[in-house]
């Protein structure tokens, strides 16, 4: 294959006076911002939904289940397009116009990716809570804790520790899934990747660099959460393998 390798193109100047590596750095910045913001949305909403689905209240369970069914069964890119193209046409015209012209696109991307991931996190939080023995809740209530206090002080602290490895996967996924937000106009890493290919045609170099960049982002997330997993481990609790004895 007679490919013309040119690793130095990253240091060449682009049309806008920056260097190509600046484009990649700016893409990395947006990818990180969108991913972390979406993760925050997903963790908050996902936890709330997960808890709702384990309460004795049927209507709360119903809402949580419906949410997970909808958001987990629709492809991410379709969800983003729903928020970007469809929702502004359904709301009152003035609000729709504001969404289309004034609302920064990054908000739509974070909401879209956050709500999508929340459904997955809800599923895991629910699984974590349900994995606990039912006696935990009963014991909490017998001690005079309210339903909410049994979550806050007894069940959630254990449930989170149990599902932390699964949440780690989700946190890594969010970095990879954030690539889809280029479809709603976010100038993140994948957008810059396409842009640079179109400008320079140095497909292989840029593919290698961007692959490594995504790998690094996901891997750093993995290490950070592994660290949290170690730090929050409770000796004696049958969680995380090496913890108990």
């Amino acid at each position: 294959m007679d490919y013309h390798w040119d690793w130095l193109f990253f240091f060449r100047e682009t049309d806008d006076g920056l260097k190509y590596y600046d484009w990649i750095l700016s893409g990395l910045g947006w990818t990180t911002l969108v991913s972390l913001a979406s993760l925050a949305v997903a963790l908050l909403l996902g936890s709330a939904l997960g808890v709702m689905r384990t309460t004795p209240k049927r209507w709360l369970v119903g809402i949580g289940d419906a949410y997970v069914d909808v958001f987990r069964n629709v492809p991410l890119i379709v969800q983003l397009f729903m928020w970007f193209f469809v929702v502004p046409e359904l709301v009152p015209e003035k609000l729709g116009l504001w969404m289309k012209q004034d609302l920064p696109y990054v908000v739509i991307a974070v909401v879209g990716l956050g709500l999508y991931t929340a459904a997955r996190i809800a599923e895991q939080v629910k699984a974590g809570i349900n994995s606990l023995s039912r006696g935990q809740r009963a014991a909490g209530l017998a001690l005079g804790l309210t339903e909410w206090q049994t979550y806050r002080h007894v069940r959630l602290p254990m449930a989170y520790r149990i599902v932390l490895p699964a949440l780690t996967s989700e946190a890594m996924n969010i970095f990879k899934n954030s690539a889809v937000t280029y479809a709603v106009g976010i100038l993140e890493l994948y957008f810059q990747y396409k842009q640079i290919i179109e400008k320079t045609s140095q497909v292989l170099e840029i593919t290698i660099v961007v692959t490594l960049a995504y790998f690094t982002l996901a891997f750093v997330m993995n290490r950070v959460l592994a660290f949290i997993e170690r730090r929050t481990r409770v000796p004696g609790l049958i969680v995380g393998g090496k913890g108990g004895n």
Partner: protein
């Protein structure tokens, strides 16, 4: 035993002697001769250059031109039964697929640029596109100057903002750039009022407008921000193959045949939906037919 060896030795030397008859063939020509087949890369939705019709068959202006190139190759290589394979390509993979030999000829809508010439070769230009603005008629935008503080969309991989700034009238204006995933997406942004203008190749704008729900609601306005030549993509440094491609295209341009093909695809209803692009030949393209060139755009 000795007799067998002699026969082998003789046939080997015969083969050796016969070889020079093919020696003038190199690169792609050699590959075609050896394999008896040629692979044409085509696009799936570059209307009207290269796209799939209702039967999922690649058709278009560039495909018709390439059919003539294939005819020329058949007679040049004396291979009337040359087998032609078709391979769909995208704007992301067309260059690597050319380089690794998956396709031998790319007939689509590929801009011949100096940067790309580092990787691949291009025939003489068979089309010149101008980067202009597609707008809604009711938006009241007639020129670059009207875009001040307006959102302007372009498709990922192009640089309308730079083109606007480079344009003299644009120097004092400030536009807000937004980006669509693909052309259909970008057009939807104009259609839905998210963007005031879509800055793109005029022919692509014409295609999008022609196939929209209400073609009369849109128009193409403003000066050309840049002219870009489309060429047939071939492998880099493959002069004998490129010479055949170029000669075929130049002959078509000189004989008026190319203009007939142009009229067929740009001025008449075309499949699959019988839409007429109504896109007359630009002065730039007429000039390119008069003086064919394979010069790339910066």
């Amino acid at each position: 035993m000795r007799k067998t060896l002699t026969v082998i030795a003789m046939s080997l030397s015969a083969a050796g002697l016969a070889a020079p008859a093919h020696a003038q063939l190199t690169g792609t020509l050699q590959k075609i001769k050896d394999s008896g087949a040629l692979t044409v890369g085509h696009r799936e939705s570059s209307v009207p250059f290269s796209y799939l019709d209702a039967q999922q068959k690649p058709v278009g202006y560039a495909m018709d031109l390439c059919a003539k190139v294939v005819d020329a190759l058949k007679s040049e290589l004396k291979m009337p039964n040359l087998k032609v394979n078709y391979q769909a390509v995208t704007s992301q993979n067309r260059i690597p697929l050319m380089q690794n030999g998956t396709i031998d000829l790319e007939c689509g809508s590929t801009t011949n640029s100096v940067a790309r010439q580092q990787q691949v070769g291009f025939s003489v230009a068979y089309f010149i596109t101008s980067v202009r603005m597609g707008v809604r008629k009711d938006a009241g935008i007639k020129d670059i100057g009207d875009l001040d503080r307006k959102p302007v969309v372009t498709t990922t991989g192009t640089t309308s903002d730079q083109l606007i700034k480079q344009n003299e009238k644009g120097k004092t204006i400030d536009v807000r750039n937004i980006y669509g995933k693909d052309h259909a997406d970008s057009f939807l942004m104009v259609e839905s009022g998210r963007a005031a203008a879509f800055v793109m190749d005029d022919i692509l704008l014409a295609g999008l407008i022609a196939s929209s729900k209400n073609p009369s609601a849109f128009e193409i306005v403003g000066p050309s921000l840049r002219d870009e030549p489309y060429g047939v993509m071939v492998r880099k440094d493959d002069a004998p193959f490129k010479a055949i491609v170029d000669k075929t295209l130049i002959d078509l341009m000189k004989s008026g045949e190319a203009e007939k093909l142009y009229t067929k695809w740009f001025m008449n209803p075309i499949p699959p939906r019988n839409v007429n692009l109504n896109f007359p030949m630009s002065p730039a393209l007429k000039a390119a037919f008069q003086n064919p060139t394979d010069k790339g755009v910066e």
